[in-house]
Symmetry: C2
Subunit: 495 residues, 2 copies
C-alpha cells in the first residue's frame, strides 16, 4: 500500500504530487530498489484520482530513472544513478578531446568562443548589430496558416524522407521568383538547402579541396571566414572599392594562382551594403568566363531592392553556365525555417546534390512545403512589398541621420537596399575593439570590422544594420553614433 | 483598352483566364514590350471582375517574366527571354563541371547515380527493401497538433535563428529519454542535428582529416560508405560475427595503424539486425579506452527493443567520456522532421558545435519544438509502445516464415528488435545482382549486400526490412523468398 498525501486544492498538478511523493519515498529508502509499485488502476482508485494522473506520474518516474526501463519491469523501483553505484565510477572527463581532434577543429572552437555575443538586457540600447529582420514585420499568422494548411492537405506526403533536391513545388516557385530577376533556371537547376550557410558550405565541399585558393571580397560575410577555415582552403582577399571588388587586384590574384572559385555578394553586400553596377558585373563575369573560374554569386538580400533602379543578378547574364547563385528566405521571411537554395547548371547541381544527399539525406520537407504554399498564395509578394515600404523609410532615416551627425573624416556607404552599411574611420590612436566598446558605452551596438576580414586591417571600421530597428530608434542611434565618434576622433578616449 | 474574353462558367479560375489572355496578346505581338497595362482597379472594372482577380493575374504575369520587375514598372510589358534576345545567347552549357570539380565529387556523383531506385508501381510486390517506418503507424494527428500547438504558443520564439545547439526543451527531453537507457547526459552534452546522417557527417568533419583511418563494421549502414568517401578517409573494415564485430580483427587493424575513430551500431545493427552482448560491449569499450580511440555508437534503432532482455548502450558504461552516441527520431516518429542528435562529453560537444554552427548556423527550430512538445505530453512513449506491439508481431511472423520457407544452406539473423535481417547464401554460380533480380521476378524486393561493404565479398547476401510491411505481406513474402532462393540454389537460374 502506497501512502501519499495529495492536496487537490494545491496549484501543483496532482500528477506532480504523485511524482514528488514517490521520488521522496525512493530517495529516503522507504521504497527500496526492486519494490513493485501498484498497478496504475489500483493506485488511482486508492488515491481517489484519475488513472491518467497516475500513468503520467509513472511515465515521468521512468523518464527520471526511478523505474526500471526493461520491458516487463516498468513498475519496478530503481534508484537513479544506481548503475554508477554498481561499479562504474561517476562520469569523469578523462579523455582530452582537445588532443584527439585535428588542429582545424581546435581553431574553429576558438572562433566559436570568439563570436560576438548578442547584446541583450539593455532596453535603451540601439542595436545596430543584428541582421535578423524585424519580428514585428514577420508574417507569422500567414506562415502559421501555411504550415497548418500543408499539414492538413499534404500530411502523409511530408512524413517520409522528402525529395533530396527539395520539395518540387517549392523549387518551381523559386524558379518563378528567379525569373522576376531575369534569371532563367528550371526546377531541375535548383537545389533547396537548410539555409544559405549550408549552401555556401555545400559549394565549398563540392568544388574545393584543402589547400585550394578561394577568392573572397574584403570585407565579406563574417561567417564565411570560419567556414573557409573548416575547408582548409587558402583565402585570397580582394579589396572592396566604392563600386565593388577591385577587378585589377582580382586579375593579379588569379594570375598568381588559379582559384577554385570566386565568392561575391554583388547586391547590398554584407557588410558594406555596396551594389555593383551592370558594367562591373559584366567585367567580372567576362573575366571569370575567360579564366573558367566558377563564380559563386550570393544573392542573400536580392529581394530587398527598395530604392532606385534594380540591377539584375550576374546569373542573369551567364551564357556559359559558370555562375552558382545562392538565395535564401531567411532574410525576408523567417530565419527559423532554414530554407535557402542554389541555382546552377544541371551538371553542377548534380554534383552538389551528391554531396548534399550523402551528408544530409534530405531537407526539412514540412518547412519547404509551408513556404511553397506561402509563395503560391501570393503572400510572399504581399509581404515583400510591406518590407520594402518599411525599410525604405528606415534606410532613408539612417542615411539622413548619419549625414546630420557623423563627424568629418568618417566615411560610410549609401546602400540602395538591404539592411547593412559600412562605416570607416580615419587613422586614430585607438584600436577597433576599443571603438566598439566606446560606442557601446554611448548606447549603440555595432559589429566591429575585424571579423569581416581574413587578415587585420589598419583603421577601425564597423558594420551597421537597420534590420531590427524602427525609425525613431534609428534617429536616436545616429545621434549617439555622432557623439561617440566625435569623442573618438578628438582623442578624448585615447589610451 | 485591353480586350479579353472571360467565361465565368468555365472551370478555369478567372485570374487564370486573365493571365492566359494577356500572355497570348504579348506572345502574338498585340501588346509589344513597353506597353503599360491598365491599373488593376481599372481593368477589374472594365472586365467586371474582382480587383483581387486582376492583381493575382498581374503577379503571375510578373513571375513569368511578362512584366518588368523594376520598381515603378510593375505594369510594363516585357517579353520573357527578352534579355537573351538583347545580346546574350540562350543558356549554353559550355562549362564542363566534371572537369572543374575534384575527383572526389565525380566519384560521389557516380555513387548517387548508382543508388538503388525505390521499387514502385507494382501493387503485388512485397517490398523488403524500405527502411521507412510504416506510415499507417505514424502518429500524424498527434504531430500535427504538436506543430500547431507550438506555433500558437511559441510562434515568436520560432521566427529567429534558434539555439545552434538545439531547442533547449528538446535537449532536456532527449536527456530524459537517454536516462531510460541508463545513459547520463545533461542537456549541455547533447547537440541536435538535422537527422542521423548529418550527425555522422558532423563527427567525421570534427574528428578526422583526409587520409585518416576510420574503422567500420562489415557490413555496415550503406549510406556511411559514400559519406566516408566524401571525407577521403581510409576505411578499415572489421567483419561482423554472429555476436558483433570481430574484436580480434579490430585489435589487429588498430595495431597496424591508430584509427581516428571506430564506428559501431551495437543494437539491431543495420543491415544485420545483430545486437551485441553486454560482455562484447564491455570488451569493445575497454579496448577503445586503452588505446584512446573515440568510439562512435550509432543508436539509430535503440528505441525499438521489442523482444527479451534489453542491453544498455555502450555509452551507459562510458566512464572516460570516450563514447559519442548518435540518436534519431527518424526511425520511430517521422523522417520528414529531420531531427537527430549527438550525446557526448561537453568538451567534445563544443568541438562538434563549432563545426555545426559554421556550416549550418542553426537547425530547424519549428520541427524541434514540435517534437519537444510531442515528448513532453507523453505522446512519444504511447506511440513507442504501439510500435513495439506492431513490430513484435511482424518480426515473429518474419522469423517463422523464414524458418518455414528458406532452403537449407541459406543463413539468416534473428534480431530481437529493429527492422532489419540479413540473409547470407552459400557459394553459388551467380552473382548477387542476379540473385536480387531473380527475387524481384518472384515478387520480392530486397537490398543486395554489396552496398553495405567498402570492398567486394564473395557470396551473395541481402538485407530484409520489415519496416513497411504488415503481417500478411510478410508471410507471403517469405513464401516467395523460399521459392526464389530454392531455384537459385538448384542452379536453375545459373548463367
Amino acid at each position: 500500500m502506497l501512502l501519499l498525501n495529495l492536496d487537490p486544492a494545491s496549484s501543483n498538478p496532482l500528477y506532480e504530487q504523485v511524482l514528488r511523493g514517490v521520488m521522496r519515498l525512493v530517495d529516503d529508502g522507504t521504497l527500496p530498489p526492486g519494490t513493485h509499485l501498484p498497478a496504475t488502476r489500483k493506485l488511482a482508485a486508492s488515491l481517489g484520482v484519475n488513472r491518467t494522473t497516475v500513468f503520467r506520474a509513472y511515465q515521468e518516474l521512468w523518464a527520471r530513472g526511478y523505474l526500471e526501463s526493461r520491458p516487463g519491469s516498468y513498475s519496478t523501483v530503481r534508484r537513479p544513478g544506481q548503475l554508477h553505484a554498481e561499479g562504474c565510477a561517476p562520469h569523469q572527463e578523462q579523455v582530452r578531446w582537445d588532443e584527439l581532434v585535428p588542429p582545424r577543429s581546435r581553431e574553429l572552437r576558438a572562433a566559436l568562443r570568439a563570436l560576438p555575443v548578442r547584446p541583450g538586457g539593455d532596453e535603451d540600447l540601439v542595436d545596430f548589430s543584428s541582421l535578423m529582420a524585424d519580428r514585428d514585420l514577420c508574417p507569422a499568422d500567414d506562415l502559421r496558416r501555411a504550415v497548418k494548411g500543408v499539414l492538413v492537405s499534404r500530411g502523409k506526403d511530408l512524413l517520409g524522407y522528402g525529395d533530396p533536391q527539395g520539395y518540387l513545388p517549392l523549387r518551381e516557385a523559386i524558379a518563378r521568383r528567379l525569373r522576376t530577376h531575369g534569371v532563367t533556371a528550371s526546377a531541375d537547376e535548383i537545389l533547396v538547402t537548410g539555409g544559405s550557410q549550408q549552401a555556401i558550405d555545400l559549394v565549398l565541399r563540392t568544388l574545393t579541396r584543402p589547400g585550394d585558393r578561394v577568392v573572397v571580397e574584403a570585407p565579406t560575410y563574417s561567417m564565411a571566414h570560419p567556414l573557409l577555415r573548416l575547408h582548409e582552403v587558402e583565402v585570397a582577399e580582394v579589396g572592396m572599392r566604392h563600386d565593388g571588388l577591385d577587378l585589377d587586384t582580382l586579375t593579379a590574384v588569379c594570375a598568381q594562382r588559379q582559384p577554385a572559385l570566386v565568392y561575391t555578394i554583388p547586391t547590398f553586400q554584407n557588410p558594406t551594403g555596396i551594389t555593383t553596377s551592370q558594367a562591373h558585373r559584366e567585367r567580372l563575369l567576362a573575366f571569370c568566363q575567360e579564366r573558367r573560374i566558377p563564380l559563386v554569386e550570393d544573392g542573400f538580400d536580392e529581394e530587398l531592392k527598395y530604392f532606385g533602379k534594380a540591377v539584375l543578378p550576374i546569373k542573369s547574364m551567364d551564357r556559359d553556365g559558370l555562375v552558382i547563385y545562392l538565395g535564401t528566405f531567411s532574410k525576408v521571411v523567417f530565419s527559423g525555417l532554414r530554407v535557402g537554395w542554389v541555382a546552377a547548371p544541371k551538371a553542377c547541381i548534380e554534383h552538389l546534390l551528391a554531396t548534399y544527399r550523402f551528408s544530409n539525406l534530405s531537407g526539412n520537407t514540412l518547412g519547404q512545403a509551408a513556404l511553397a504554399r506561402f509563395l503560391r498564395e501570393g503572400l510572399y509578394e504581399v509581404h515583400l512589398r510591406r518590407l520594402h515600404r518599411a525599410y525604405r523609410g528606415r534606410m532613408q532615416a539612417m542615411l539622413k541621420g548619419l549625414a546630420a551627425h557623423l563627424p568629418q573624416g568618417v566615411e560610410w556607404t549609401r546602400p540602395a537596399g538591404g539592411y547593412t552599411l559600412w562605416v570607416q574611420l580615419p587613422e586614430v590612436a585607438i584600436d577597433e575593439a576599443e571603438v566598439v566598446s566606446i560606442l557601446r558605452r554611448h548606447g549603440v551596438a555595432v559589429v566591429g570590422g575585424r571579423g569581416f576580414y581574413a587578415s587585420p586591417r589598419p583603421n577601425p571600421a564597423f558594420r551597421l544594420s537597420i534590420a531590427n530597428l524602427k525609425e525613431p530608434q534609428i534617429v536616436e542611434g545616429c545621434r549617439r553614433l555622432g557623439r561617440a565618434l566625435a569623442s573618438v576622433l578628438e582623442g578624448r578616449h585615447a589610451a
